[in-house]
Symmetry: D2
Subunit: 346 residues, 4 copies
């Protein structure tokens, strides 16, 4: 029985962790940590889990939690995990941080984009970027996981094989992303009220969204040279789901079959990445509630470009599901344990 603590359990990502872990018999959630709801029954906030747990929310005191569990998930605002973590905690438990604190290796870049002073730069090097599709072996031995961002996970997995194989000219890369509203979190803000989001679509964070350097850093590792992209997220009136539409000029002449072969080579053995058949576009409805990323592409000979598409549930593969996938690897369990979820449609 693996004992789990969740810090930030009352946010949407925390709630999704609870959803995924409560269906498992090899896991016990020992701690539902919260800032605002200490002492309240957890299911009074997530009535969907009524009768599945009778836990009461605890504090977010990681020192104390680390004495009671085997692994801590931090689904907390930027900066919090870095401010709480220390060697003692890491010596006792594994930590999977769903915030951005340890994702970016260049601390100056982190501090510039996040407008924060990093609280624990000494752990940045140690932290493993928790994308199993590229760092599987490192994850297995890690103490501290930087669980990737939602947009970066979907963008990277959609694009990286073509960057790595030199098929696209990465200097032309444009990523137009669309996300459901759960990505905005459970905080009470006018901008996220039903009537503000419903029946509308908008771009936000144009030319300045914090996930940009995260995507760039990972693609840079693949390209072997600096990659700089345009990244524009949009807010879509739906609960869950991210869709990536990425554009780039082709670096060489390729056929449909050439590109398909690349994707297949990278993903045939990846359980959670599905390469669709020719001309079938990814749609977020096909991944809802699951850990899948669906990808496909279309060549456009008129313009010499390729359009790459990826769809993912931002709450699962984009947050809680990927965190569980990382946990499975860290504890020597089958990577897909508890994640064999058939997407729910409609």
């Amino acid at each position: 029985m693996i004992k789990v603590g969740i810090v930030g359990a009352t946010g949407y990502a925390g709630g999704e962790l609870a959803r995924l872990l409560l269906q498992r018999e090899d896991i016990e959630i020992r701690w539902f940590g919260s800032k605002s709801y200490v002492g309240q029954e957890y299911t009074s906030l997530y009535q969907n889990m009524y009768q599945m747990t009778d836990a009461v929310c605890g504090s977010d005191d990681m020192e104390q939690i680390s004495r009671e569990v085997d692994v801590i998930f931090t689904a907390t605002p930027q900066g919090l995990c870095a401010s709480l973590i220390d060697e003692e905690i890491l010596s006792r438990v594994k930590v999977i941080d769903l915030s951005a604190d340890f994702r970016i290796k260049d601390v100056a870049v982190y501090e510039e984009w996040y407008k924060l002073r990093h609280g624990a730069p000494r752990f940045i090097d140690e932290a493993v970027y928790g994308l199993p599709e590229i760092n599987r072996e490192k994850i297995k031995g890690a103490r501290l996981i930087a669980n990737p961002g939602c947009y970066p996970t979907c963008s990277f997995l959609t694009i990286y094989p073509l960057v790595k194989e030199g098929i696209i000219d990465h200097s032309t890369l444009i990523v137009d992303a669309k996300s459901g509203t759960s990505g905005a979190g459970r905080g009470a803000k006018v901008a996220n009220l039903y009537c503000e989001v419903n029946e509308s679509i908008k771009a936000y964070g144009v030319a300045g969204h914090r996930h940009t350097p995260e995507i760039e850093e990972q693609l840079t590792l693949m390209a072997g040279e600096p990659v700089r992209i345009s990244f524009t997220p949009h807010l879509v009136p739906m609960d869950r789901g991210i869709l990536i539409t990425a554009y780039a000029s082709l670096a060489k002449e390729v056929s449909y079959e050439d590109v398909k072969a690349v994707y297949d080579r990278y993903y045939t053995d990846e359980r959670f990445v599905r390469v669709f058949k020719k001309d079938v576009c990814p749609e977020t409805r096909w991944v809802k509630g699951s850990n899948f990323v669906d990808v496909n592409f279309k060549l456009d000979p008129r313009t010499g470009r390729i359009v790459m598409m990826g769809a993912m549930d931002n709450m699962v593969k984009g947050a809680a599901g990927q965190a569980v996938q990382n946990m499975n690897l860290m504890f020597g369990l089958p990577e897909d344990k508890g994640l064999k979820l058939v997407p729910m449609f409609p």
Copy 2:
């Protein structure tokens, strides 16, 4: 390994059966029967299950199917199952019919409300009304199950303890029901287009909806005398979920604790019925994707009435989930096998 055939596999209820059964290791779906898509890959219609099955849609020839499987689910339009079934088929396989063909014991009532001539009246008596909460033992030994309707399941479970215990005056019963749009099926009709349903709510089938006699028949069995109700369904702009708001005058003076005790007595041991705490209203978001029915009530001393509320996922407990629950019972499996699904929120 239980071998399963689904007739009507390409409708929403059929798709939900596939979702629930594909996550099980003790089940093999051998037949995806369809009227319109014979020969097409099943996942071309349900891309969410891509790579989880490579099945091709077959016909709806129940005679043939019955030679290849252990149990057939018929998720088909009214009248079809009754027109296809016969003694030979029933001697070979168990049949769980998700249509209304065998739900109503009084064939005249069926024919009046459904405007159909019943195709197999000889099996009506044998068919067991598949609501495990009241017919658990009969279901275990049945060959033919009439899987209850979505509205009847939610209405009945919300109301029946108070009818049976004589707490309410059933002659005053009014059931105001609200359903998500998946209940309308996957047929191409203008009335169910996105722009027709979105941003609107309407009543339909007022004073004439076919689920009325089904609810009445079951409540009559509980009351021991004829029950006649007002039942009004409404279409709500959401995918899944049914909410029942039922009104009745109290037949005697009761306190909150009295009524709560009744619900608790009936449902404490029922895994799939959750009685909420005082003043917590059921909401469809708390049951999405799960087999739960959430119920609660509110006394109104000003009017001498009680308001009973129930929420359920029409696709799961209201259709496919209940059908699987019935299958589990028929095959001697744990009743909740494959149904321990944590509701998905948001």
Copy 3:
């Protein structure tokens, strides 16, 4: 040119008043009063009106406003208007209060249901309940209008002809109401976030909603004896619209034609109440953006009941549109001036 001040201009009802009044050439909005946004450009909050006004939000100082305008609309939380109004203000301007402060004539009832001490009981008698369909003449001469609540407007207009004509037994009246989310206001609350409201429906305020006594008081006036109802509102995942489904036992034997004749008699000359043809159910999509209330009914001989249905845009006829209708009457203008809006579909 009528000069208008809006107190509470930044809420949804205030925004709707601005939408309706900015399209008129005989109106000048002189004051956009606000509590939280004083000094901010109004269109920074309502970008839809960009370039249509360059106003900056002012305070909610009614004394000051009353010196600059001819009429003040107060679209403010309960209690505010009553706490600000006085004889001096009323001697200078007309006041149309969209809150509940002056709707209920029995101050004890108001204070019980609203848990507030009434700030200006001396004006309650003078205030006219601003439902033009019943109080048209009184409204014309009024200084202070209590603009009806959204649920009461739709409920009352759907039901009252049958109460007044003694067609229904009002002791059996049950009103099941459904509302879009704009009715919950623009305040930042978790319960009204997109992901909390979307894909769900719930009852709220069961047996205790504050609009209950308002509906009862008006129906009592029609019946000539005390009317007590069950009233249950529900929150629906859509922006606008209220649907009323009301149930009552018939007090006498009536045919479809009898009841239709009653509705026609009351409403043929009412521009904003549309009685639908037989068997056409009101739907909120048919009134969106307009000042209409659509009504219809269905007799149910099986139960001896009648089902009455009404649909309305809660923001227009349920709030700002009705307020404008009242203003038109008070200023001797055509009642439908600026309100001849064709409902927007889809």
Copy 4:
């Protein structure tokens, strides 16, 4: 009084024309033409207009209609208008064609992208591309208007000043478009059912959407040399609205003020194009129900690119509203007559 005929009155664009024209006192809609509903009351299909017209649907016989009206709007599938129009009709009435038949001047391009043989190529030259912001004077004298497509209107108005002024390198132009579902029409197709569209987003027509050559042809006219773009539309779960996010590399060094000055120069006198203030992104909710196009841009010095954004109601400025704007110009009326609609929010 201008007498109007609408061919294709029962589709969404036809319904929107009726909405806009029924609120005018200088217009009489004489003919509601339909293919499928001849003989049915128009308001039985558009109950929102109940009591505003008692018209019965007529045929789509343009010859006959042309004898009864002054102007015909054809809101019909591609190819129909071209197959029905002739010199006689054009000699009697003005025709505003909302289909694509006369938008593209190069008939070979039309036939390649639309897979149709053009039925009346002799009128292509005469037809004026009905975008008042660029062709105002020509429209005034035209007999036949090719009303622009929804995506082209929004894309072109968002981008063209920067193409014309040489600010962007048009060879790098990428247009990522998002549309509400009304753009898909009122036909009964499974893909447009509520449960298929809701809670999902997808790209479609990737590298092959028919609006691509229309945008290219118009931009080519502005650039004075061939423009070729990448254009990808997406389906968004909302009724109305188009959002354009367009990307291009800058052709020269420019400041925010430089670019803002260009937009202002082109659009200050344009009533229906609103250039937003710095950093305020267009959102479709701010234009709902109105004839506005809202535009803005963001420079991205990191990549040397500019992001251009435009929002529009696809049913109004993208179809019916623009058609009315053209009609106003053709009949010597104020261009904004009947179009001074304040956008409806929420």
